[in-house]
């Protein structure tokens, strides 16, 4: 039987606010345990939550970016359950009335664009962390993360393969960083995902029973985990079994999912509106003000790069992968005044390659756009050849400074003086009479040999075009 896979994702994006969603404590990552948990985060008797307006702005910004409905009035609710890292015994979340309603995201898989529905996105607080190691049979609780603002983004069950799921998640990952609401750091848990996975016979309208796979914190894991889960479900059904609704945990070490709890064991969360918080109201004026802060979004930027700079879709996609790289590229184009295609080649080639090799982010690059433009200018006006430019780039990367000074100091300037090149050619022809004979006898491939000799003599600095132009008539006699 042919099976169809149905996937919906719930993505938790940690909002990049300075303080927590309901308290003034810092959200910075990596502090000593419980040093960033104030009375409110600890759930002391008598404390009350106060909503962080910045978190609301970020949620609305996201909603506007995916063309979603923004609720004029949304409500915070208490989700009740007991766990040691949940200090109040309830999580403040949004249930019936989320701040962001129906929206959509376009993904591209195998050259085809597909629109994925976003059901909703709501604000909530994160829990703390339970640490089961290092406590000799006991559990340690770190509440630094408790109260960190999260935006839970729920997709429609529109995804039909692990590949689509990854494309969707990447697209969201790119978007939240573009609009500066989340740092996207998956290793620190700032962007994580649960997947609802089910299968059904192709053509069947009714959905199959789904399992929720939790703990997916890398693009690689999500693909593997979903594929694994799909296989498990198909195997199960084909051998006469039944998929049960349950929560499964993905174990990256063993590459398998295992059952955490079944539907029967699931909590009754007893949601009800939190009486400590007033309904959240977002009026048209606030929406308009937030809309003004929206930057050019990735899809728009990509299209503009194609149109304005005449780039291929492929190059445009690479350059717009992050807002920072796109900004760097545009600065280089502007400052160098060079051909945008040339700039693209160098930004996606040497420059990105060097970042990757060094394993650093653009923000930590030793070369800024201005320095890089200096080099592009000299490539563009043929002061240096492409080959020499790579040497200059390396020096620039290693030692800093500016391209012109390096070219000057190291004498790397391209020789375009035809008199000088001619003299060198004459000498080479005189010294290699044997090869000249062969060439003239029809072995024209030897042209390369002569060009090589000239380059060797000039340490690569001779303008290749000029060399060709002068060499050929002389050899042809």
């Amino acid at each position: 039987m042919e099976w169809e896979v149905v996937i919906g994702l719930e993505i938790h994006a940690q909002l990049a606010t300075k303080s927590k969603i309901f308290s003034g404590a810092s959200t910075a990552y990596g502090a000593a345990p419980n040093r960033q948990a104030c009375a409110v985060d600890l759930g002391l008797p008598g404390v009350l939550p106060v909503l962080n307006k910045e978190a609301v702005r970020m949620a609305v910004k996201f909603g506007l970016a995916i063309d979603a409905e923004i609720a004029p009035r949304s409500v915070f609710a208490r989700k009740n359950y007991f766990y040691p890292d949940l200090p109040k015994g309830y999580q403040i979340s949004q249930f019936e009335l989320p701040v962001v309603g129906i929206g959509h995201i376009d993904i591209e898989v195998d050259g085809k664009v597909k629109r994925i529905g976003v059901t909703r996105a709501h604000l909530e607080e994160d829990a703390g962390k339970s640490l089961h190691e290092d406590f000799h049979g006991q559990t340690g609780v770190d509440l630094n993360r408790a109260g960190t603002p999260l935006l839970e983004i729920v997709s429609e069950p529109d995804l039909r393969s692990a590949k689509e799921a990854v494309a969707y998640m990447k697209k969201l990952h790119e978007l939240v960083r573009y609009i500066d609401i989340c740092d996207g750091n998956m290793a620190e848990g700032s962007f994580r995902c649960d997947a609802n996975v089910s299968v059904r016979p192709k053509g069947q309208e009714e959905y199959g029973t789904r399992a929720e796979v939790k703990n997916l914190n890398s693009f690689r894991f999500i693909e593997k985990a979903i594929n694994h889960e799909v296989e498990r479900q198909i195997d199960l059904i084909e051998t006469g079994g039944k998929v049960v609704q349950e929560t499964r945990l993905y174990d990256a070490n063993k590459d398998e999912t295992r059952s955490m709890r079944s539907k029967e064991e699931a909590n009754d969360y007893r949601y009800f509106p939190d009486p400590d918080l007033l309904p959240l109201e977002v009026d048209e004026a606030l929406k308009a003000a937030i809309r003004k802060t929206l930057p050019e979004l990735p899809d728009e930027k990509r299209q503009r790069f194609i149109d304005e700079y005449n780039l291929s879709a492929y190059d445009a996609a690479i350059l717009t992968a992050t807002k920072e790289l796109a900004g760097f590229y545009e600065q280089v184009v502007k400052a160098s005044g060079a051909d945008p295609k040339l700039c693209s080649n160098w930004v996606t080639g040497e420059f990105s390659g060097a970042l990757n090799k060094a394993g650093i982010e653009l923000s930590d690059s030793p070369i800024n756009a201005e320095q890089f433009s200096g080099l592009i200018k000299r490539i563009s006006d043929e002061t240096v050849s492409g080959k020499i430019a790579k040497q200059v780039f390396e020096l620039l990367w290693e030692e800093g400074g500016d391209a012109d000074s390096i070219i000057e100091a190291k004498g790397l300037k391209q020789i375009t003086d035809s008199g000088a090149i001619e003299a060198i050619i004459d000498q080479i022809i005189a010294d290699n009479q044997g090869q000249v004979e062969q060439y003239r006898g029809g072995k024209t491939k030897l042209m390369g040999f002569f060009v090589g000799q000239v380059m060797k003599q000039t340490q690569g600095k001779a303008n290749p075009g000029e060399v060709n132009k002068l060499l050929k008539p002389k050899l042809d006699g």
Partner: protein, 484 residues
């Protein structure tokens, strides 16, 4: 000294007739003498009180400070007080030393008031008799075989017995007004949001409101002035500016329209209490008020609606008491579940557990619509009743409670009859409007309370009506014989 009003005490302090230290010592002595009999204090902080009194004396000597500077008081043990035990009347928090001050505590301290300690209360403010406290029942100074009412029973008893000039209380369904009525003092529950709830241990967040418990309306106005005002730490706190509550105390009552809800005078109301209330209303007629009968047709639904909403909210509010971070933890828990169930099972008393269970049930899947949602709809109906009434009248009056103080142990086995002792007060909390209880006579030597209910933000009017009544009556000046 102990029978003086705040205004009198303040004048005495300023004139140098006595110092705050002397005043504080004199009240500490009374607490020493009578506190145990009444069981109204959980914590007495004499040393710190005297230090605060000396600071107040320093201010007064320099001609600084306001009318409350140097005046002793005590807090209901529901308000977090930095460095002191804040028990909320529960074994669960018997070991809890608060690391911070509630806004009410810091505001009254900033006004120069001298806190003498923390007052007994029903456990987590759940009770109408002060019998659910982990620290034992509080006794009514008018009859020590009787309850002082609850949940602010310690506050009411302490003020009535002149152990403190004023005390703070909280009112979720009548917890300021009913004990004020039983103990013959003046109690005010302000409009929801007037006084910050930050640092006040939550029972039912949408109903809880703090207020002053005093011997007169005049004192209540002065204390409320210092308690009220916007607090950025409480999202439900009102941003309105605080009016001068004392400004209109002496305003004439001529033409004041008073409504008597017929539902408050039907079955269930003690005959003698009814007579006392009618006599009080007659006084208002003499003061120039116009009195008419009105109807609050949905009032009979207030108790059932309240006993869904309040337990539902408390079931979540009390989840934080889990034995993990602070408070009571059971001995040698076997595992996490055991830690939770025994810490909570042993740490909470029966009434608290009963309400948590009712609340969890009302919120559970499949019952939410029938209980919680329905109760919220009823709440709207009750608010509508009041809204309509205030289109016709300025104030509503009636009994605060159906009877005078009942005997200790009389209703502990019958929770429903206990719940009904709040039948006249609960509707006010569901609507979020302000109300007072003031002394209006005695039945068999026990005080009767008159309830005054006003529209939103009408505290000034309520205090005015109460004060004018207190100018022409002596009920609020009565002192229980043993505590004269």
């Amino acid at each position: 000294m102990h029978n003086k009003t705040i205004t009198e005490l303040s004048a005495g302090l300023k004139a140098g007739d006595f110092s705050s230290e002397e005043l504080t010592n004199s009240f500490l002595q009374r607490i020493e003498e009578h506190g145990e009999t009444l069981n109204c204090f959980v914590t007495v902080s004499g040393k710190e009180a005297l230090e605060a009194a000396r600071v107040a004396d320093g201010l007064i000597a320099k001609g600084e400070g306001g009318v409350l500077t140097g005046i002793p008081m005590a807090h209901k043990d529901i308000f977090c007080t930095k460095g002191f035990k804040t028990s909320c009347g529960s074994k669960m928090l018997d070991n809890f030393i608060s690391p911070y001050d509630a806004t009410v505590v810091s505001r009254l301290a900033a006004a120069g008031m001298v806190s003498l300690g923390k007052l007994n209360m029903d456990e987590f403010a759940m009770g109408s008799s002060n019998e659910t406290s982990y620290y034992g029942a509080v006794k009514n100074p008018w009859d020590t075989n009787c309850v002082p009412g609850g949940s602010s029973g310690g506050s009411a008893a302490a003020v009535a017995a002149r152990l403190v000039p004023i005390a703070t209380g909280t009112d979720t369904g009548g917890s300021i007004r009913q004990p004020a009525s039983f103990c013959g003092i003046t109690g005010l529950k302000p409009t929801y949001g007037t006084v910050s709830r930050f640092g006040m241990i939550a029972f039912a967040s949408s109903l809880d409101q703090a207020g002053p418990m005093t011997r007169s309306a005049e004192d209540a106005a002065l204390v409320l002035q210092a308690m009220a005002g916007f607090d950025p730490n409480d999202s439900t706190s009102l941003e309105n500016s605080v009016p001068d509550y004392s400004a209109e105390l002496n305003k004439e009552l001529t033409g004041l329209k008073i409504g008597l809800p017929k539902e408050f005078f039907e079955e269930g109301l003690d005959n003698e209490v009814a007579k006392a209330v009618e006599a009080a209303v007659e006084e208002y007629r003499k003061l120039g008020a116009e009195v008419k009968e009105i109807s609050l047709p949905n009032m009979d639904l207030s108790v059932p609606a309240y006993y869904v909403v309040a337990p539902a909210e408390c079931s979540a509010n009390l989840s934080r008491f889990d034995g993990v971070r602070y408070g009571y933890r059971c001995e040698n828990p076997e595992n996490l579940e055991d830690l939770y169930s025994r810490s909570r099972g042993e740490g909470f008393g029966a009434e608290v557990k009963r309400r948590i269970m009712i609340g969890a049930y009302a919120l559970s899947a499949g019952y939410y619509d029938a209980y919680y949602l329905k109760a919220q709809q009823v709440r709207k109906l009750i608010s509508e009743d009041f809204k309509k009434a205030f289109e016709e009248v300025d104030l509503i009056m009636g009994p605060t409670a159906p009877s005078t103080a009942f005997g200790i142990g009389e209703k502990t086995d019958d929770p429903l009859s206990m719940y009904l002792s709040d039948i006249f007060t609960i509707g006010v909390n569901l609507a979020g409007i302000p109300a007072m209880s003031i002394p209006a006579g005695f039945v068999k030597s026990k005080p009767v309370g008159l309830q005054l209910i006003g529209n939103y933000f009408s505290e000034g009017r309520l205090l005015n009506a109460a004060h004018r009544y207190q100018q022409v009556t002596e009920w609020h000046k009565g002192v229980p014989a043993e505590f004269e």
